[in-house]
């Protein structure tokens, strides 16, 4: 603290950062929790409208997490442990879904299996009811297994091949090695991966909204209370319940994370190859991955076909009118790009500074600051959005907009929301990066005459390039694919691509929705490839739509 007083610029910057965190992370969340008031909560709880969405949420989270983790595990195991062919292809397949809004799967599902779906109606002549629990379950399984795959593959690839070789050398078979070495060592990591996946599924808004039908979960319930009835109290109460669920999952995950430190004792992945697995297993894994890849390709193939056909699936004649429509309404795509870019830039800068202050500073309260920066990772997007709506949709914000000569400040608000909602990923990337840089590097700069801010700028920031890149790309991708954070904040002027896609799907304009999705995903891919070209490393874990 005394050293901070000697560097007033640093102290001021820190105070500003704390003020921003209080204003944009803490305040909106407190607002939501407080909106209903004690009486509101009592009458809401007595009303009982929340019990069904709550049990539904728990039910679907259990079901979808189980299946997507199983599929994700098979995919991850095959990628990490077997010498199966076509791995680069499967790697791309595994990344693709992370770059698109997760509710894309729901949209395609309706196209294929819906009342007029190409498979259900076109092939079987049926108009089955596909909405409800089973629809959501199936769709979320497909939508979230790539996330599970990324998380689990990350854990498995950290397990030390040398230990596995040693176990094989001592006479254990492949299955014994897996059960007695790999699994116990990566157990906590796998647990954390499963819980992370469960949080994503719990928070998922788009899929249940599109195909849930009467099957209401907490996020969709909160949405319909506001959009249908203007019932802020109820929505706030519902999303507070959702927040509590997400928080308990999150804290369970962090306690597992703590137990996992010993997996990464070596720090680096060793260059030793994994012990061989039986050829039968490799073949089975390959077949399973082919099937899963087929499903993913079916989703994106359907998307592209419906973007290029007149009226999928009934009229399959080639057309470019959907892309013409996209061109005419490109504002939302453009907005998505600008907002996400700004959020990613802001997020990277903020995370750099915050990470530096927490990792390298010694000031009271930095533990709390650290905690607040991680918090948004546990906050469902829908809750975040409602928080910003309650906190900042006030008369004073209109006056502020008037002062700047703007009709509203929603675009700015969306950028800020995307920035702070994504802080945890960027911040954690910086934290990991800083932990790998020995403190003597900072001290060397200091002893040569650099103030700590100067040393940070000249030495640490350039060394943190890789971490900044991870944070930047992840923030950007999450920002272009999120629906729930933005759905309460947009105005016609500040609509984004995901909002447009969502509206088009609701209007049954499949072609337009597909064209927009292709545009959105294409944008994410182009940015990803460009950044990778610039920086050289591709990091994919931690992506999430929602």
């Amino acid at each position: 603290m005394r050293s901070l007083q000697r560097e007033p610029v640093l102290l001021l910057a820190l105070l500003a950062a704390i003020a921003l965190v209080l204003a944009f992370i803490v305040y909106p969340q407190i607002q939501v929790v407080l909106v209903p008031g004690a009486d509101g909560y009592v009458s809401f709880l007595q009303g009982g409208t929340w019990t069904l969405p709550l049990t539904n949420s728990i039910k679907i989270t259990l079901l979808s997490t189980t299946t997507s983790v199983l599929l994700g595990f098979v995919f991850a195991y095959a990628m990490v442990y077997t010498p199966m062919p076509w791995k680069p292809f499967f790697r791309v397949i595994g990344i693709l879904p992370l770059l698109s809004p997760p509710f894309v799967v729901a949209a395609v599902y309706i196209l294929l299996f819906g009342p007029r779906g190409i498979v259900s109606y076109g092939v079987f002549g049926q108009s089955p009811s596909v909405f409800g629990l089973f629809g959501v379950w199936g769709v979320q399984t497909i939508a979230f297994f790539p996330f599970a795959y990324q998380l689990i593959a990350d854990v498995l690839s950290r397990s030390d091949a040398r230990l596995e070789q040693a176990a094989r050398n001592l006479g254990a078979g492949p299955w014994q090695v897996f059960r007695s070495v790999t699994l116990p060592l990566s157990g906590p990591g796998l647990g954390a991966a499963i819980l992370t996946c469960a949080i994503y599924i719990l928070e998922d808004f788009g899929n249940p909204q599109l195909i849930g039908g009467g099957f209401n979960v907490l996020p969709t319930q909160a949405y319909s209370l506001i959009e249908g009835f203007g019932d802020f109290t109820g929505a706030a109460a519902v999303s507070t319940i959702l927040l509590l669920l997400a928080l308990s999952l999150y804290f369970a995950k962090t306690s597992l994370d703590r137990g996992r430190s010993f997996v990464t004792v070596g720090g680096k992945a060793s260059s030793m190859p994994r012990p061989p697995v039986p050829p039968m297993l490799t073949r089975a894994c390959f077949a399973a991955c082919l099937a899963l890849a087929g499903l993913i390709l079916l989703v994106y193939g359907t998307l592209i076909v419906s973007a290029l056909t007149l009226y999928f699936p009934t009229n399959l004649s080639f057309t470019t009118i959907h892309f013409a429509y996209l061109g005419a309404h490109a504002t939302s795509l453009q907005n998505s790009f600008i907002y996400s870019m700004l959020a990613a830039i802001g997020c990277s800068i903020f995370a750099l500074f915050a990470g530096f202050m927490v990792q390298r500073g010694t000031w009271p309260g930095r533990r709390i600051f650290d905690f607040l920066l991680i918090m948004p990772a546990a906050i469902p997007g829908i809750f975040f959005g409602i928080g910003y709506l309650t906190a900042f949709n006030q008369p004073w914000s209109d006056q502020l907009a008037g002062f700047f000569g703007q009709p509203d400040l929603r675009a700015q608000l969306i950028v800020i929301a995307l920035l702070f909602w994504n802080i945890p990923v960027a911040y954690q990337a910086i934290t990991v990066g800083l932990r790998q840089i020995d403190k003597s590097i900072d001290e060397a700069a200091t002893s040569l005459g650099a103030s700590s801010l100067r040393g940070f700028r000249d030495v640490l920031v350039p060394m943190l390039g890789g971490s900044v890149q991870v944070g930047f790309v992840t923030t950007f991708v999450r920002a272009v694919t999120t629906l729930s954070v933005v759905i309460f904040l947009f105005t016609p002027r500040s609509t984004t691509a995901t909002i447009t896609i969502f509206q088009l799907v609701n209007d049954f304009d499949w072609g337009g929705a597909a064209a927009f999705t292709v545009g959105d995903v294409g944008m994410a891919i182009i940015v990803l490839v460009l950044i990778q070209r610039l920086g050289g490393r591709l990091a994919v874990t931690g992506f999430r739509g929602g």
Binding site: S440, I441, A444, T446, S447, L448, G449, A450, R454, P462
Partner: protein, 361 residues
């Protein structure tokens, strides 16, 4: 040049929580000297160095550099450049940029910087390597870059935190002499931290041996080596025989002490008060002893009979372990090729003036 105090620590204390890392340390370092803080790990030597650098603030006491109290001066304004154990080279900068970094901070002109950097690189023997990246250099070269980077800013004082400990033994020794020569050419005050007593003794004008946060003894290397105040010091700075003994009588600054069954007159060290009958330790370095055949005459030396238990050939000397009254003494014989090695019964010959007395701990 008159000896002038350059760095002074008075009653400096540093705590980390409940643990006292540095406990009431005071010392003075003359200008232009090579001063070493020596001690085992955890003794507080690095903490002391880091307080001088400004990376830690002392909880009590004063640090003065050139007569000015620097306790409240931020680290980057102290003019105390540091060479780190792992060199801490900036990996994203070339050698030239690393060395020039301090000068850039001083807003020197580009031409000035280029010239000074080249001169300094030549000075430390790295001419022509300026465009390399740090990871393209060997450990020894990286160490030179770290030294050059610190020297180029013309610091008041150079702090070195175990700068040689990551190098292999051969290189360590040759760089040791280079550092010493460099310091003497620049006449700069060096504060050097190490746990290696050979390094400390061979390099320094002045050594402070630290233990458990305190300075146990400070002074010129041979004073510490031959006249340590405590058994810890005696043992830490090299192989030693610490023989229990009884004071027979004390007269005029000379004490007669028992050595085995014999007696020897020894000088009473300053600050040590001895009474007849007191239990003491005799501190005798192995190289101060000689072996004789069992029948050899005393010749003015104290003779202690014993038996060779084992011996080791170390090249420049033969080290014997000789059993005397159930205790093992270490005796080093130089130039072992000159005679047949001893075996069996021997006598240890001790010149009384080579015996140093330490109070029984």
């Amino acid at each position: 040049m008159a000896e002038q105090v350059h760095l002074r620590l008075t009653h400096v204390t540093k705590r980390f929580g409940d643990a006292v890392a540095v406990d009431d340390v005071s010392f003075e370092v003359p200008r232009g000297s090579f001063a070493t803080l020596l001690g085992p790990s955890g003794c507080g030597k690095t903490t002391t160095l880091r307080m001088i650098a400004g990376f830690y603030e002392p909880d009590a006491g004063d640090i003065e550099l050139a007569g000015k109290r620097i306790n409240n001066l931020p680290a980057h304004k102290r003019g105390a450049a540091m060479v780190f154990q792992d060199y801490a080279l900036f990996p994203h900068m070339s050698v030239r940029a690393n060395v020039g970094y301090g000068l850039r901070l001083q807003h020197k002109s580009k031409a000035d910087i280029a010239k000074k950097v080249d001169d300094t690189l030549k000075f430390v023997g790295l001419a022509g390597l300026g465009d390399r990246q740090p990871n393209q250099l060997s450990g020894g070269q990286q160490q030179r870059v770290a030294v050059a980077r610190a020297l180029v800013v013309e610091p008041q004082i150079l702090l070195l935190d175990e700068p040689l400990s990551n190098l292999d033994a051969k290189l360590r020794e040759s760089l040791r002499w280079e550092l010493r020569a460099l310091q003497q050419r620049l006449e700069m005050t060096f504060i050097y931290v190490t746990h290696d007593q050979d390094e400390a003794l061979s390099l320094s004008d002045w050594v402070a041996v630290m233990n458990a946060g305190r300075v146990e003894q400070a002074g010129v290397p041979w004073e510490i080596y031959y006249h340590p105040k405590t058994a810890f010091l005696a043992d830490f700075v090299g192989a030693v025989n610490l023989v229990p003994s009884t004071v027979r009588e004390v007269r005029d600054g000379t004490a007669v002490v028992s050595v085995g069954s014999a007696n020897a007159p020894v000088r009473v060290p300053a600050g040590l008060s001895l009474a007849s009958g007191a239990q003491v330790r005799l501190c005798i370095r192995p190289e101060s002893l000689q072996l004789r055949s069992p029948s050899a005459a005393a010749d003015g030396q104290v003779m202690v009979p014993g038996t060779v238990a084992r011996k080791a050939f170390l090249g420049d000397l033969m080290r014997y372990w000789v059993t005397v009254d159930g205790r093992e003494w270490i005796v080093d014989q130089p130039d072992p090729g000159a005679a047949t090695p001893y075996d069996g019964a021997v006598q240890i010959a001790i010149r009384p003036e080579r015996i140093h007395v330490i109070a029984e701990p």
